[in-house]
């Protein structure tokens, strides 16, 4: 049975390479039949915000990549509701549909994954 893996994005999309590499890891693992789901938490919620325009820093808009992950069967996204609230972001501002979690109900969900990869 393929392993069920949660890729946890904790950092904002630009500033460090981690969110970009989290995306690359998601795609790479999915290509090798690992079942990948995604959690955006803390500044990681910024990854999914619509209309990113990082051309000025010669980067690609990472948020626009998330909907395309569906082609690789990556389509289950979780987002931390507290993190959204702290940053004044609403779910309709995100590029993908995501299940909003609270720190309380997520604890139980985490135990359902075989492995968690924090980025």
């Amino acid at each position: 049975m393929p392993k069920r893996v949660l890729v946890m994005v904790r950092k904002s999309p630009y500033g460090t390479v981690y969110p970009a590499e989290a995306l690359r890891a998601m795609m790479g693992l999915a290509a090798f039949e690992v079942k990948v789901e995604v959690l955006l938490i803390h500044d990681g919620v910024f990854l999914a915000v619509k209309d990113q325009n990082p051309e000025g820093i010669e980067m690609k808009a990472l948020g626009a990549v998330l909907p395309d992950l569906d082609e690789m069967d990556i389509n289950k996204f979780y987002v931390c509701g507290e993190s959204l609230k702290e940053r004044n972001i609403t779910v309709d501002q995100l590029t993908v549909e995501a299940e909003v979690c609270t720190p309380d109900n997520f604890e139980e969900k985490l135990t359902q994954f075989d492995h968690i990869l924090p980025f």
Binding site: Y18, R24, L29, A31, D114, H115
Partner: protein, 117 residues
């Protein structure tokens, strides 16, 4: 237990390389099996054979020693390209490989632990 390891930070800047190494040594001593160490992002720089730390522990050599003991120490090829780490710069007993090996380690391990980041 079968344990997979990923290391995300380079040598010396952060302690993660040391912690990963000490964790692996301790796990093996306790009878656990390390299915592999995957070096991702700056982690690939840990196996640069040109590392010469004046008067300090040699982190590349440590990973080479783990490799000699049979632990797979693999660095991501794309991350290596980004950082100018050529295949012939990898210290002996380590390898530069594709992301498929990370998928293998994940599939083979009971627990998968990430250091750094």
């Amino acid at each position: 237990m079968k344990i997979g390891v990923m290391l995300l930070t380079g040598p010396y800047q952060h302690e993660a390389s040391d912690t990963a190494y000490n964790f692996i040594k301790a796990a093996i001593k306790k009878g656990h099996e390390i299915v592999g160490v995957f070096l991702y992002t700056d982690g690939v720089m840990n196996i640069n054979k040109n590392i010469v730390p004046p008067g300090e522990r040699n982190i590349a050599k440590r990973f080479s020693e783990l490799g000699a003991e049979g632990v797979k120490v693999y660095a991501c090829i794309a991350c290596s390209k980004f950082r100018g780490l050529k295949k012939d710069m990898a210290i002996e007993n380590t390898k530069v490989v594709g992301l498929g090996k990370l998928a293998d380690f994940i599939e083979e391990s009971d627990r998968f632990i990430t250091f750094g980041g």
